[in-house]
């Protein structure tokens, strides 16, 4: 379970371009199912996910994961938590150009030093599961948007994380591909993983397995409903 208590995030603090992205968010996220953070651009959805996923630290407030305080952990331990607990699917996919699909999927596991044949087999299994096993040797630049999204999803799962964080996962996809990706995320929720999605796409709000919708506006929570 993740718990946020009075969490705030200020960018460029003390400078003329200071920006308060989140203001005193308190929230408890239970494990399992899909939770969607909705809201217009600039509402603080992505910032909230970066804090939950240990990609950044809050300016104020506390974040705990299963009772362990994350907000003041040293960088090394934060990376450890990030590596084992979270898998990320970014809006722009953020795959590394010049590498193959398989290499991109294997990348998060490199620092763990798993035997190469095991890692390769695990990556190939994930790609097969998402229907792009045949593209394993292709370079990222040659993929379609849907294929890139699936590759990103496979990469998010290579370390077998308990939670998957997807930032605007349907933003660069057409409706058909969006439904496919949402179905895949739904499968992950069915397997018992916690899926956190930020989106302003109505398709996402209406997806199966979405159990909670949290609405943000101007860095504050303005709605919290179960589906």
């Amino acid at each position: 379970m993740i718990e946020l208590t009075e969490v705030s995030k200020v960018f460029n603090q003390g400078r003329p371009n200071e920006c308060r992205a989140l203001r005193g968010i308190s929230l408890r996220l239970e494990c399992g199912g899909i939770t969607v953070f909705k809201g217009p651009s600039g509402s603080g959805k992505t910032t909230l996910l970066t804090l939950v996923g240990c990609l950044a630290r809050p300016t104020a407030g506390r974040i705990t994961l299963d009772g362990q305080l994350l907000s003041n952990l040293p960088e090394r331990f934060l990376t450890e938590v990030r590596r084992h607990t979270f898998g990320f699917v970014f809006q722009q996919f953020n795959l590394i150009r010049g590498l193959t699909v398989l290499e991109n999927v294997m990348l998060p596991a490199y620092p763990l030093g798993r035997p190469h044949h095991q890692l390769r087999a695990a990556a190939q299994t994930l790609l097969d599961r998402f229907g792009i096993g045949g593209k394993a040797g292709s370079r990222i630049e040659w993929l379609s948007g849907g294929e890139a999204q699936r590759t990103a999803l496979a990469r998010a799962l290579i370390n077998d994380p308990a939670m998957v964080i997807a930032d605007e996962p349907t933003a660069n996809l057409d409706s058909a591909l969006s439904r496919e990706v949402l179905a895949l995320l739904g499968e992950l929720a069915l397997q018992g993983r916690t899926v956190l999605i930020s989106s302003h796409d109505p398709l996402v709000f209406a997806a199966d397995h979405v159990k909670r919708l949290i609405e943000l506006r101007d860095g504050q929570m303005v709605g919290d409903g179960s589906c």
Binding site: L49, E75, R82, R83, F88, Q91, I96, Y110, P111
Partner: protein, 378 residues
């Protein structure tokens, strides 16, 4: 332990892939880097080999040389000094030498003329160094006329060309008979230019030299070790001059390396952000970049050093040879014995590889310690 090795293997794999992804940039850097190492290694290998060559050649020369000084300047040595020198305990043989210089305006070069009693040369016969033969286009049987002190030309017949193996010291050398020498320079009879002594026990050479200084006031004994030291100093000086010149090249390289290695492109920063976001530690990224710097700089180092080695020992040492060998117009032409000094290699590694790796790591460290959340914002 296997996980640690596997991890390093992954990092190297990723680094190689990263290097190949920016091949134009890295290849350019590699070429400039290798060129720099090549230049520095060439100077080091050449000057070091020249020193070794000189030391080898001088190994068989007499231990002590005696000159006469008048008013602090070298003067002709009276033949009467040879006997007292012979009587000094520890001296096994003494020989008076006749030698001098001749400036040839035709080729603007100085020759060293020396009497070689052991060669049994006829009055007008000469043996010449290979460089001298080359520059005057002389071969055996040709006549070379030199003006005597009276202005009359003295025709000298080339009876042989000196062995190319000793060219470092004999490039400008002309060996002739005592008669020929005395006709050419007309020195006072019963005088020599200097004398050389053979000492029974080499370790006593310094003691013998001290005895000579006491027995013959106005004499200056010179030990072979002192001559070797002078050669060392000359080559050190020449090497220093070349290094100062190369310093500018090194500086230019540092600026280039800093710009290329240190100036992270937006793409590289994004890549670092992605790697951190997907679970790489700052340390992993630093290690990856360390491998990148090490692979690039070591490849450049090995390529540059191997090229310099080939150039110095097998390629004719055309680069820097005029500066390091000296001899004005008469450059010795000989093949050096291949040799590598580990200390020099390490020193060269330290001045070329380490700064590059440091220059690479500092900005990477700055980028890698930042929060990876920027990657979430595209």
């Amino acid at each position: 332990m296997p996980a640690l090795l596997e991890r390093q293997k992954y990092l190297i794999d990723y680094t190689l892939a990263a290097l190949l992804r920016h091949k134009t940039r890295n290849l350019g850097l590699l070429l400039v880097y290798a060129l720099l190492v090549f230049l520095f290694s060439s100077v080091l290998l050449l000057s070091q080999s020249l020193r070794r060559e000189a030391a080898t050649l001088l190994q068989d020369t007499p231990e002590v040389m005696v000159q006469r000084l008048v008013a602090g300047r070298h003067d002709l040595l009276p033949a009467a000094w040879l006997e007292p020198l012979r009587r000094i305990r520890g001296v096994s043989a003494v020989q008076g030498r006749l030698w001098g210089y001749y400036y040839d305006p035709a080729v603007k070069a100085n020759y060293t003329l020396m009497v070689a009693p052991d060669r049994d040369l006829a009055a007008n016969d000469i043996l010449i160094g290979a460089a001298l033969a080359r520059i005057r286009q002389l071969s055996i049987g040709d006549i070379l006329s030199l003006p005597t002190t009276t202005g009359k030309p003295l025709p000298l017949k080339v009876a042989g060309i000196l062995d190319a193996a000793s060219e470092l010291l004999s490039a400008d050398l002309m060996l002739l008979s005592e008669t020929g020498y005395r006709t050419l320079f007309n020195p006072p009879p019963d005088t020599y230019t200097d004398a050389v002594l053979t000492v029974r026990n080499r370790r006593e050479a310094r003691t013998v030299a001290e005895k000579i200084a006491l027995a013959l006031p106005g004499s200056r004994p010179i030990l072979r070790t002192e001559i070797l030291r002078t050669y060392d100093a000359v080559f050190n000086w020449r090497e220093g001059i070349v290094f100062i010149t190369l310093g500018a090249v090194l500086l230019a390289f540092m600026i280039l390396a800093w710009d290329k290695a240190a100036g992270l492109s937006a793409e590289e920063k994004r890549e670092i952000g992605i790697l951190k976001a997907i679970g790489w530690e700052t340390g992993d990224i630093l290690r990856m970049k360390l491998w990148e710097g090490a692979l690039l700089s070591l490849t450049a180092f090995l390529a540059g050093y191997a090229l310099a080695y080939w150039q110095v020992f097998y390629g004719g040492t055309r680069l820097f040879a005029p500066v390091l060998k000296g001899w004005a117009m008469l450059y010795p032409d000989f093949r050096l014995t291949p040799a590598v000094d580990l200390l020099h290699v390490l020193a060269l590694l330290a001045v070329t590889v380490l700064p590059y790796i440091v220059a690479t790591l500092i900005p990477i460290w700055r980028a890698a310690t930042a929060d990876p959340d920027a990657v979430m914002r595209g």
